[in-house]
């Protein structure tokens, strides 16, 4: 068979149609497409792709299982390392991880590992829906472990610890589990029913989820220990939205991306008035920022009926931090990229934002992060009329727990300080994910959850 140089195409919803609904954009491989794509894998003896995966999924092995038409085995192989394959297959930046290192990718397009993972992940969920997929009886251990925050780091740590037989309680501040997977990532990229199913798989492992509990407020870390928890894992994420600090930023019509996406995703404002939480989006919307959250916000605004949605980003297209796929999808959906521009002020009328004042930027030199430094071009100010602005310039670690936990050391950015085992400054307390690193990716948080679980297991065994 001739070598297939390009990825097997995946079907997606037509842009004309999808901008009018919140259904998933990427439709995923069917079985024959998956088998065809799996056939492109070179089955390297020393697979580079695995090194690019923060949770070290044995990628060639699960792909081999697809070729062998043994999807149960494929699912089992992935789940040995990754508790949330249907989610990772959708939201991981594979092009910067496993697929970046794929040997095929050196000359041609890499194997579509992410699409294959999603295919297997969805198969596993469908199967779990019809049969009892409860794992073989786990030997129960007596130690209780508290996991704080039910985002990707917390879900992963909880699952790995439950698989070892520990009694795990997962505490969540909101009324539904999932963290950023629930409130942040839109339905059209990660459908809620996929998240619900993945969470329920983790509950089947014996993890008890307690909603509406804010650790640090409802229960303190000290009280968790007093209640008999042996260890605590903190995975509370980067929940605090950054603002620009510009004049007019508190005018009505200006949202943080967190607020905008939480209203739409967690509270389902896109189904208003059936769901009672409102969100108001006018005809012209500007999103400030160039990351995945900015793309999610812009594409959500399009679906809510905005006629002109702009991304305002201070560097050039090369530096856009969002995934290429997200940028392409946004372009297909008519989002306008106003690159090399930076807002300088918001102007309003009757308390509502009316326009953004911007200045053009040029790139000069390189900063400490290796990116070109944007510098304002003098006298290039211009104005854009808007009905709404969504600020998506990043999040910082949520300080709520720090405020209420004396002895918990944090760095200048508010991140919890941990050692190489993810152990924090209080004995028995571990932390990982965005609360340590600042805003990063779902899979990196999962990698941290996994590592913390291993450290906790070691700590408890040696205790």
């Amino acid at each position: 068979m001739a070598l297939q140089k390009e990825k097997t195409p995946v079907k997606s919803q037509d842009p004309e149609l999808r901008i009018k609904n919140f259904d998933e954009v990427c439709l995923g491989y069917n079985k024959s497409e998956a088998v065809q794509e799996a056939g492109r894998c070179l089955q390297c003896k020393d697979p580079a792709c695995v090194k690019g995966c923060p949770v070290e999924v044995p990628i060639p092995d699960f792909i081999k299982a697809i070729i062998d038409d043994d999807l149960d085995r494929a699912a089992h192989i992935i789940k040995s390392k990754n508790n949330l394959p249907a989610i990772c297959g959708r939201v991981c930046p594979q092009e910067e991880q496993c697929e970046k290192l794929c040997i095929m990718g050196k000359k041609y397009e890499p194997v579509a590992i992410g699409r294959l993972e999603r295919f297997v992940g969805d198969y596993a969920l469908k199967k779990a829906g019809v049969s009892d997929s409860r794992p073989a009886k786990i030997m129960k251990k007596k130690e209780k472990i508290a996991v704080v925050g039910s985002g990707p780091a917390g879900l992963t740590a909880a699952a790995d610890l439950a698989k070892e037989g520990y009694q795990v309680t997962l505490f969540e501040a909101l009324h539904a589990a999932g963290g950023v997977l629930r409130y942040g990532i839109p339905e059209f990229r990660l459908p809620e029913n996929i998240l619900d199913q993945e969470v329920s798989e983790i509950q089947k492992l014996g993890v008890e989820i307690k909603l509406n509990v804010v650790i640090g407020k409802t229960i303190t870390i000290d009280e968790l220990f007093a209640e008999g928890y042996s260890t605590v894992f903190i995975g509370t994420g980067a929940g605090l939205p950054k603002f620009l600090g510009l004049p007019g930023e508190n005018l009505n019509g200006i949202y943080s991306a967190n607020e905008f996406l939480t209203r739409v995703n967690l509270m389902k404002a896109y189904k208003f008035p059936e769901y009672k939480t409102p969100v108001r989006i006018g005809k012209k919307v500007a999103v400030i920022g160039g990351g995945n959250v900015a793309m999610d916000s812009a594409r959500t605004a399009v679906r809510l009926g905005a006629e002109e949605v702009s991304i305002i980003y201070r560097r050039s297209k090369e530096e856009l931090p969002a995934r290429d796929e997200e940028i392409e999808h946004a372009e297909e959906e008519g989002v306008i990229f106003r690159l090399s521009n930076n807002p300088t002020a918001f102007h309003g009328e009757n308390g509502r934002v009316k326009s953004i004042e911007c200045v053009k930027m040029k790139l000069e030199g390189i900063d400490s992060s290796g990116r070109p430094v944007p510098v304002p071009v003098a006298g290039s100010n211009w104005s854009l009329e808007v009905d709404n602005v969504i600020i998506a310039i990043g999040q910082t670690p949520n300080p709520l727990l720090k405020y209420n936990t004396p002895g918990l050391k944090t760095n200048l950015n508010g991140g919890i300080i941990v050692d190489e085992n993810l152990s924090a400054s209080i004995p028995g307390v571990y932390a990982g994910g965005d609360i340590v690193t600042g805003a990063a990716t779902v899979i990196k948080a999962m990698g941290a959850g996994k590592k913390a679980a291993q450290s906790i297991i070691k700590y408890l065994e040696e205790k």
Partner: protein
């Protein structure tokens, strides 16, 4: 699920409910609030905790029916359940070191003032309390406030009870006749808190409790941002109590009005369904 144990109509449109929430009752202090979601389709709304009983594991909420969600909450009866309730949120009030305090409540804000007056009373402070309402029917917690205040002044807008006028009329008098006031606390409609903060001199610390629009209540959405002393603060984690001399009240009034049209829309729908 959180069970409503008791319900009482305090005044037309002002309801009091006692809810079973042992974890929250255990940790609540004056100044804290909770966020609740009545059911699957409802909004999350913040409500200040009006009282708590740690032994019985209950918290008391007093609210005025001002929109769809509060009207729906007001239609629940003892024995009904609230799906989600989270807290205590916000910073507790620092009540230390005050010997003589003026506490001012306007409208249903009086309900939120009560636990603060009670806490000052327990700490042995001298308390002059002023409560204002539109008319006699809307005066609430008179008996309770009288028990824990050294003096209680009542005003009504229409003169149907107490002194005819506004709480600020009494406050102005008290500031002249009492030179040893350590602190003024004001909770009520934003225009009232603004007026109070304008009257009190700079050397008398004036605390107001803000009721901003918010979604999560844990610092995540930033919807509740307010300008205090020229800086942006989040009502949910930095407040809800702030220095009234530093707060930009006009900005708050503007931000509170953002969803008025949507609110009217669902209220209308709600009434059509209920009728």
């Amino acid at each position: 699920m959180y069970k409503i144990i008791e319900k009482e109509n305090l005044a037309p449109g002002i309801k009091r409910i006692r809810v079973e929430a042992p974890l929250i009752a255990r940790k609540t202090h004056p100044g804290n609030f909770i966020i609740l979601r009545i059911g699957e389709f409802d909004e999350r709304i913040p409500l200040t905790v009006a009282d708590y009983d740690r032994d019985k594991g209950t918290i008391t909420l007093i609210f005025q029916e001002v929109g769809y969600t509060t009207e729906r909450l007001g239609s629940l009866e003892a024995g009904d359940y609230i799906q989600d309730l989270v807290g205590p949120l916000g910073k507790r009030l620092d009540l230390e070191g005050c010997k003589k305090v003026i506490c001012i409540g306007g409208g249903s804000g009086t309900a939120l003032l009560y636990p603060i007056v009670k806490a000052f009373h327990e700490k042995g402070a001298e308390i002059l309390t002023i409560t204002g309402a539109r008319n006699k029917e809307l005066v609430i917690l008179e008996k309770e406030l009288r028990t824990v205040s050294d003096k209680l002044f009542i005003t009504t807008d229409d003169g149907s009870y107490g002194r005819h006028g506004f709480v600020t009329d009494i406050l102005a008098d008290l500031l002249i006749t009492h030179s040893d006031i350590d602190l003024v606390v004001a909770i009520g409609p934003v225009p009232m808190m603004k007026a109070v903060s304008r009257i009190t001199p700079a050397n008398i610390k004036t605390i107001v409790s803000l009721n901003a629009l918010m979604v999560d209540g844990t610092g995540m959405c930033g919807g509740c941002r307010v300008t205090v002393g020229g800086e942006t603060k989040f009502t949910c984690v930095d407040g809800p109590a702030f220095d009234g001399h530093q707060v930009d009240f006009d900005e708050i009034m503007n931000r509170q009005s953002y969803y008025q049209e949507e609110e009217k829309h669902i209220c209308r729908l709600g009434r059509e369904v209920n009728s």
